[in-house]
């Protein structure tokens, strides 16, 4: 009996000892050791992160993860995706379950400062909007007083909605679900009059409704929703990699480097392009990857413009215009610091 107690004590001490040494090794080393990037995405939002018929993920957020894999491994396919609900996403990143969260997540001050996260940039400037049935005859969000509103829990959307109705002296009845699919189903079943989320999301969700033509997205945009990838705080190297993969894709578009012409651009004598493609300087080494990292990103994934057009642009069912997401040189907000 005493022997049993003793072994229990020793065992407990061993467990406690292990708990005390939770490692926080550099994310890059962990990623290299396991051979792939674990990327947190949505459970299915067309154009941002959604699996296709064959089970392959595609979307703007997915392409950013592929870009990171291309930069680290030279192989855009070295990614594994974790579909996460809005509620699960930050815990998954904090606990180390995923390496990067690229899941149409709004950059806010509290998330940046209180959750132990760092936002590595903005890969889509969005704003919250409303979708209603055409048959309601509503053409402005200001006519929505008294409506039932479907919304997903754990989002900035839930708070913006409250603020907007309050500011305009209107009432509403929130119907809150945890999973995107549940919100979609409830709205489709007419449980709510209004669906609110980021406008890009509304366009994407509308495609999946039983009768997409019967719904309109109202013109009002009630909030700023800068969506971008997030990483854990305290690992500057990994933070830099994620940040500069995004900037490299923006700079490539600005310089006119595309996945199609990346190989011929290798012969370019423009010093900007030479630095981008790793012909000059050692920018890759500085962040712990090979010097042709940006070349791999552009060659295998494409520049920002290509990614945008491929996933949400005019040729896709979403048909979202570049708008504020155009480069700064074309009147938009997408602006990357120079690569030098």
């Amino acid at each position: 009996m005493n022997k049993k107690i003793l072994s229990a004590v020793v065992g407990a001490a061993a467990v406690a000892g292990m708990g005390a040494t939770v490692a926080s090794a550099a994310t890059l080393d962990d990623v290299k050791a396991k051979g792939f990037v674990q990327c947190g995405v949505s459970t299915g939002l067309a154009g941002f992160s959604a699996p296709n018929d064959a089970g392959d993920w595609s979307g703007i957020d997915v392409d950013l993860c592929r870009g990171i894999a291309a930069a680290v491994f030279g192989d855009a396919k070295a990614v594994k995706f974790s579909p996460l609900s809005a509620k699960e996403r930050f815990t998954a990143l904090q606990s180390g379950e995923i390496d990067v969260l690229s899941r149409n997540t709004t950059w806010t001050m509290s998330r940046d400062t209180q959750l132990g996260l760092n936002f590595a940039g903005v890969n889509y400037y969005d704003g919250q909007g409303f979708m209603v049935r055409k048959s309601l005859g509503v053409n402005s969000a200001l006519q929505l007083s008294g409506a039932s509103v479907c919304v997903q829990t754990g989002t900035t959307t839930e708070l913006n909605l409250t603020d907007y109705f309050k500011a305009n002296g209107m009432t509403y009845n929130p119907v809150v679900f945890e999973k995107l699919e549940e919100v979609n189903a409830a709205y489709d079943a007419n449980r709510c009059d209004v669906y609110t989320t980021d406008q890009s999301g509304l366009y994407s969700i509308r495609l999946g409704l039983s009768a997409p033509d019967e719904h309109i997205v109202l013109p009002e945009v009630i909030s700023k929703e800068p969506l971008g990838p997030a990483v854990r705080q305290g690992d500057d190297q990994w933070f830099s990699i994620v940040k500069w993969v995004h900037f490299a894709m923006l700079n490539a578009e600005e310089m006119g480097v595309t996945s199609a012409n990346a190989d011929e651009m290798l012969n370019s004598t423009d010093p900007n392009v030479m630095r981008l493609l790793g012909k000059e300087g050692a920018f890759g080494e500085a962040i712990g990857v090979s010097n042709d990292w940006a070349y791999q990103v552009i060659k295998q994934v494409g520049n920002y413009g290509e990614v945008f057009e491929r996933n949400v642009g005019a040729t896709t069912p979403l048909a979202i215009a570049r708008g504020v997401n155009a480069l700064w040189t074309k009147g938009g907000l997408q602006y990357a610091p120079p690569l030098r």
């Binding site: 004590v9 007419n190 705080q233």
Partner: protein, 402 residues
């Protein structure tokens, strides 16, 4: 070392066994060591979590409770607005959980008793129906049943605009995919007298019951307690209602804009959860009731009949009291299950504790460790309270052995 004969090894010259070899002392030492190890492990775990949270730059502590919540909740029992604190949001969720649990337990017990008795019925149809009910409902996972009630039954009802005839027309009763609409009683000045009358009637019922029982024991004469009591409860408040000038009025729902406004609204999420929980748990309670009744030996019935007691009195006075002793302990587990199962509400959007506090509050504050621990403690406390109450109830019906 040479041992003296007759003295155990390790004993000193005085003849007493040394502490090293005293089994009692050794036992105490190991127990103390174990307690120290457990405390050390808990301390290590907590301080490790706190240190890791601090290093990862994640806010910790319970200060968030007094911050403004900033979000709305669809269904609240206590007054709540988006200006209320997270603490109040916590109570809103807690009360929503408790309401659905208490009402669910109420219906589950009633349905369970009826079905359990029906399973023992001599009527073929009734007995088979009860069997089918039990075997179907207890063998389908609860989550599927909840989704069935919510998505397959309640959400295919017409929308309020389709259900209502015209804007502004008041209806006494309406069921649509936004909920069940019933008239609401509006209390005006002087209405409190009616509630006092009701209270007086209930107390009178109780007093008459005590008196009738005493009289029956003394004289053997019976008194129709139930009918008298029922008449009192109905007549007395009605009388006061008319005497005080009808201070109660009904508010009806009518279609205004998007939704029905006014009246008493029971939302579909609540209905689905209540239906699912009570029907599912009732199937287990039915089996417990059946087992309890079958556990009473048939000799008891025969003995009662031999004394000339009528069949319905036999079951009420002889069978059921004895069956209760077998029924109560497993019934407690079912009540606990129902309370804990109510956390499945999150799947159908009912704002219970897990959805409001473990969902929205967790996300808006980002303090997962604190929020989840509190949520777990709350369920633990609710269960322990239910269990304590049922243990007390059990001891009051248990066989008193002399």
């Amino acid at each position: 070392m040479a041992h003296q004969e007759g003295v155990p090894a390790g004993a000193d010259d005085s003849g007493r066994v040394s502490l090293m070899n005293d089994p009692k002392a050794r036992g105490l030492v190991f127990q103390a060591l174990l307690i120290i190890a457990v405390i050390a492990m808990v301390y290590l775990g907590v301080s490790n979590a706190v240190a890791n949270l601090a290093r990862a730059g994640i806010a910790s502590g319970f200060g968030f409770f007094s911050d403004r919540a900033g979000f709305d909740i669809g269904q609240t029992i206590i007054p709540y607005t988006n200006d209320s604190t997270y603490l109040r949001a916590f109570f809103v969720g807690l009360l929503n959980t408790m309401v659905v649990a208490v009402i669910g337990i109420f219906f589950a017990t009633i349905i369970g008793f009826i079905v359990g008795l029906a399973r023992l019925s001599k009527n073929y149809l009734v007995q088979k129906f009860a069997t089918v009910y039990v075997e179907t409902l207890r063998n389908i996972p609860l989550l599927l049943q909840l989704l069935f009630w919510y998505k397959a039954v309640l959400s295919i009802l017409p929308s309020p605009r389709e259900a209502a005839r015209e804007t502004g027309v008041e209806v006494a009763f309406s069921i649509n995919n936004r909920g069940l609409y019933l008239p609401r009683v509006i209390a005006e000045d002087g209405s409190s007298l009616i509630f006092y009358a009701l209270a007086v009637a209930i107390v009178a019922w109780f007093v008459i019951g005590r008196w009738a029982k005493k009289r029956q024991i003394d004289t053997g004469q019976q008194f129709p307690v139930f009918l008298t009591g029922l008449a009192l409860v109905i007549v007395l408040p009605t009388l006061v209602f008319f005497v005080t000038g009808r201070p109660l009025s009904l508010e009806y729902a009518s279609l205004q804009g998007f939704n029905m406004v006014g009246g008493w609204i029971i939302q579909p999420e609540f209905m689905a959860l209540l239906l699912g929980l009570s029907l599912y748990t009732a199937s287990f309670i039915a089996e417990i009731v059946r087992a309890g009744i079958l556990a009473v030996s048939h000799g008891q019935t025969e003995a009662a009949f031999a004394l000339g007691i009528r069949p319905n009195l036999t079951s009420r006075l002889v069978i059921v009291p004895q069956a209760m002793r077998v029924i109560i302990p497993p019934l407690t587990s079912q009540f606990l299950n129902l309370t804990k199962n109510s956390s499945l509400a999150v799947a159908i959007g009912y704002p219970d504790l897990v959805s409001v506090f473990g969902g929205t509050v967790l996300n808006q504050t980002g303090q997962a460790v604190e929020v989840i621990s509190i949520t777990m403690l709350v369920y633990l406390a609710l269960s322990l309270m239910t269990s304590a109450f049922m243990n007390w109830f059990n001891s009051s019906v248990a066989l008193v052995e002399r």
